[in-house]
């Protein structure tokens, strides 16, 4: 019986060990407590954009649906261009603010009304920071401290930015596609308008290729070689996948896809 008991014990422990190991092997995502963000009365639009991006990628929970292509419209690199035309009588920032606080007021065709009212999880200054960030996705940022109710603001000069603030955060916050191409030295080999060098394929007509191809070319530049550019094959750095945030990558892909 001792032998049987041992076999039972091994079965139980072995099964538990497999499940524990599998659960430890998959990507580990821990849900952190959101940082309390205080936004001062002298906050600038640029600072709001940075805070907004932190919220977009973190406490706002936006990336759970936006950017996946199925649950909710993709916003990065796009929404700033179209927000002013979505609803009659609402300008860009009014429309985005309404989308975040009264999400069922207007639902983009083809999607379900699953967007939550962000007032339940974010403060009004945080929501305005999100509006500023979303405006920066292809359009000018018009949100200022004046849009935020004064009672909600902290003392001037008080500005808490979630982890990674400063220069690094500012780099991660760049979401203008042309600026991204510039900062990542893409124009060293590619040309767009008057900017850049035509060493590699031009960006002017790159949108004629499909989106997957463009994304793959950025992430794995050596996977395909464009016809006529065999001589420079292998010269494009293969580290953009590590260098760009997912949002930045998608912004660039969308922007290049629109160049026809």
């Amino acid at each position: 019986m001792l032998r049987t008991n041992l076999k039972i014990l091994l079965t139980v422990i072995g099964t538990l060990a497999v499940y524990t190991a599998v659960a430890n092997m998959i990507p580990q995502v821990q849900s952190e407590v959101p940082e309390e963000t205080a936004i001062g009365a002298d906050v600038t639009p640029e600072q709001l954009v940075v805070i907004g991006q932190e919220l977009y990628e973190g406490a706002g929970g936006c990336t759970a649906c936006h950017g996946l292509g199925t649950r909710a419209p993709d916003l990065l690199g796009v929404i700033g261009q179209v927000c002013g035309e979505r609803r009659e009588g609402l300008d860009c920032k009014e429309y985005i603010f309404q989308s975040l606080t009264e999400p069922s007021a207007f639902v983009v065709e083809g999607f379900q009304p699953i967007m939550p009212d962000l007032r339940r999880t974010l403060s009004e200054p945080q929501i305005w920071a999100l509006v500023a960030f979303l405006q920066s996705q292809g359009g000018p940022v018009t949100v200022t401290a004046a849009d935020i109710p004064r009672a909600e603001l902290s003392a001037p000069g008080e500005l808490a930015i979630a982890d990674g603030g400063g220069a690094a955060a500012a780099d991660a916050a760049v979401t203008d596609p042309v600026e991204l191409l510039r900062t990542n030295a893409c124009f060293a080999c590619h040309q767009l308008g008057e900017e850049g060098v035509a060493l590699g394929p031009t960006f002017e007509t790159i949108g004629t290729r499909d989106t997957e191809y463009i994304r793959r070319s950025i992430l794995r530049p050596n996977a395909d070689t464009a016809q006529g550019f065999e001589a420079v094959a292998g010269t494009m750095p293969a580290n953009f996948g590590d260098q760009l945030t997912a949002a930045q990558l998608e912004t660039i892909v969308r922007f290049l896809s629109s160049q026809r």
């Binding site: 019986m1 049987t4 076999k7 039972i8 079965t11 139980v12 422990i13 099964t15 538990l16 060990a17 499940y19 524990t20 599998v22 659960a23 430890n24 998959i26 990507p27 580990q28 995502v29 821990q30 849900s31 952190e32 407590v33 959101p34 929970g61 990336t63 759970a64 649906c65 950017g67 996946l68 292509g69 199925t70 649950r71 083809g110 999607f111 379900q112 699953i114 967007m115 939550p116 339940r120 999880t121 997957e212 994304r215 793959r216 992430l219 794995r220 953009f240 996948g241 590590d242 760009l244 945030t245 997912a246 990558l249 998608e250």
Partner: protein, 596 residues
């Protein structure tokens, strides 16, 4: 925010003072609540670890003692109304396991209450301020439940004939009624934490919250229903493991035959109820989305999205192991060999189904992962990871399991009716039609929008349920008066099949821990969602790896204690084995539980 952590004794003193004031004057109580320390300290594993273990192990025992009486009373009824005394003995043996498990449930429940009162005193004071009356009712009902259980078990031999037997069965029903109400009350506390009524905000004084509105919150009834079914699944699996243990320890053929049969019934109950459980899960999920979309998204598409892949992996193992047990069991049924060639095909469907179901799709991926995949979705597997493919896979797995069961059931029977061949052809057509509908909507789902696609899953499920209903009804009619190809050789089961029952029990238990983590974790850094914030240092919600380690620890503690219960169960009383009449026309053993 300031966080205070103090020693348990001081905490208990302050809490007692707060509760006294609460009873005396609600106004003073508010102040007393504010004076109560927020958090206590627990050595080594921390306050949250201690609560986690106490709550999880208590829940496992509670599920067992609530699930087993449900099918014990059904099995007793089969014995009374079917005239087969074997079922009566089996029901009594199930109940015997409950006696010791009840003590363990109460001990862990007390540990949980003490842990809450000393480690989360302010939050506990808040809950008691709202739910105190229901807590007294809970305690009273628990007493009634225990008393009824003792009466039910110890009166078994005294009230075994005629009207007294039926009254004894009534006691079993009463036991279930008390147990269900007790569970409903406890569920109201935890579901209030998940989905408090809209009018309850951070500024609402707990004394002003109406008790019924707190109890009848958005997720209360869905959790009640889900837990009733899950408890049956869990109870069946643990009984299966008990039977396996006793089978392996058996010294006589009669004993081995008895526990082989008991193991079969445990597995049948567990897998049978498991098939229904996803529907209760969908209902719960829908209500969570209705209550708060953000919470629903956090659960399904946020940081918990990988959890559902692990869940799919575990359910795949449950299906595979449950089917494996049936296939091995066919070795002891004369006539089953004619079905053996088909088993490999059933296995292939189950394996493919598991792989598809466990394919990741809409995950939060890191930059490195996005780079490795060449996009936010995997270029090839992404196609299989969508709901169209997954729903199709799950429905095929259910159909396959049902087919396995059907083959098992028919293995030793020879129908005597004239239209048996036609009936079998109709059954085959029902399977083919259901599979065709499932496949059609699975493929069609790729070509329509998400809103339309979601509706397709209803058609797929209805097709499978209709198939099960038609086929089993036909089978019951067709096999009426069927002759036997030979009696089932109960007890002649390879030992490896019994280890499959252990794997099933461990997997069900682990899955229960995982789902408990999901349900509790979607509150994230809130004790009461968006009402009372967790300001302790352990307010973050852990990743799946550390959570899995904690779940495994809980399962180990549970099974360690269950092993003692099994051992005591063996000491307490030897089973009175009533062998099935060998060579009868049709062995009623498994078939009787299978719908005959």
């Amino acid at each position: 925010m300031r966080v205070t952590c103090v020693r348990p004794i001081r905490v208990a003193g302050a809490l007692a003072a707060a509760l006294l004031l609460l009873a005396a004057d609600p106004g003073l109580a508010q102040e007393a609540l504010a004076l109560t320390p927020e958090y206590g300290h627990f050595p080594l594993i921390g306050a949250r670890g201690a609560i986690w273990i106490a709550a999880q192990v208590h829940l496992m025992f509670a599920a067992f003692v609530l699930g087993v009486p449900m099918f014990a009373v059904v099995v007793e009824a089969v014995g009374i109304f079917g005239g087969d005394r074997r079922y009566d003995r089996l029901a009594k043996e199930f109940t015997r396991l409950l006696l010791i498990a009840y003590s363990a449930t109460a001990i862990w429940g007390a540990a949980l209450v003490f842990a809450l009162a000393t480690l989360y005193p302010r939050f506990w004071a808040y809950l008691t301020a709202i739910f105190a009356p229901s807590m007294w009712i809970y305690a009273g009902l628990f007493f009634l439940e225990s008393f009824t259980l003792y009466l039910y078990y110890y009166g078994w031999e005294r009230w075994k004939e005629g009207i007294a037997k039926k009254m004894h069965w009534g006691l079993g029903i009463l036991l279930n009624v008390w147990g269900t109400i007790v569970m409903f009350i406890a569920n109201s506390w935890l579901t209030f934490m998940m989905s408090p009524p809209a009018q309850v905000t951070a500024d609402t004084a707990p004394q002003t919250v109406r008790l019924w509105s707190a109890i009848a919150n958005a997720t209360w009834m869905p959790i009640n229903i889900h837990r009733i079914i899950a408890n049956v699944v869990f109870g069946g699996a643990i009984v299966g493991a008990y039977a396996a243990y006793r089978f392996l320890a058996a010294r006589t053929d009669e004993e081995r035959a008895h526990y082989d049969w008991m193991g079969y019934i445990g597995n049948f109950i567990a897998i049978g109820a498991l098939i229904v459980l996803p529907f209760a899960g969908y209902y719960l999920g829908r209500e969570i989305y209705e209550f708060n979309q953000q919470m629903g998204i956090t659960m399904m598409g946020g940081f918990m999205s990988w959890l559902w892949i692990i869940q799919a992996f575990l359910i795949g193992i449950l299906f595979l192991t449950g089917n494996y047990y049936l296939w091995v069991g066919m070795g002891r049924i004369p006539g089953a060999e004619r079905f053996t060639p088909y088993i490999k095909w059933l296995l292939i469907v189950l394996v493919i189904g598991t792989i598809v179901w466990a394919t990741p799709h809409t995950m939060i991926a890191s930059r490195r992962e996005i780079a490795a995949m060449g996009g936010t979705h995997h270029p090839f597997l992404g196609v299989l990871g969508v709901m169209s493919a997954k729903n199709t896979a799950v429905n095929f797995m259910i159909l396959t399991t049902f087919l396995s069961f059907l083959l098992y059931r028919r293995a030793n029977k020879r129908p005597v009716i004239g239209w048996a061949r036609t009936g079998t052809l109709v059954q085959g057509a029902a399977f083919a039609l259901a599979a065709g509908i499932v496949l059609f909507y699975g493929i069609y789902g790729y070509f329509v929008s998400a809103i339309v696609r979601i509706g397709f899953s209803v058609y797929q499920v209805l097709a499978v349920l209709a198939c099960i209903l038609v086929v089993i009804t036909l089978d019951v009619v067709m096999l009426r008066g069927a002759t036997s190809r030979g009696a089932i050789r109960w007890g002649q089961m390879p030992e490896r099949s019994q280890y499959a029952l252990f794997i099933l029990a461990v997997t069900f238990t682990w899955l229960m821990g995982l789902m408990g983590f999901a349900r509790s974790g979607i509150r994230q850094h809130w004790h009461v969602f968006e009402v009372i914030r967790d300001t302790s240092p352990q307010a973050f919600t852990p990743a799946l790896g550390p959570a899995a380690t904690m779940i495994s620890v809980c399962v180990l503690i549970f099974f360690g204690l269950v092993a003692v219960i099994f051992w005591l169960g063996g000491l307490a009383e030897k089973p009175i084995v009533i062998p099935a009449a060998a060579g009868t026309a049709v062995d009623l053993g498994p078939a009787a539980t299978a719908g005959d």
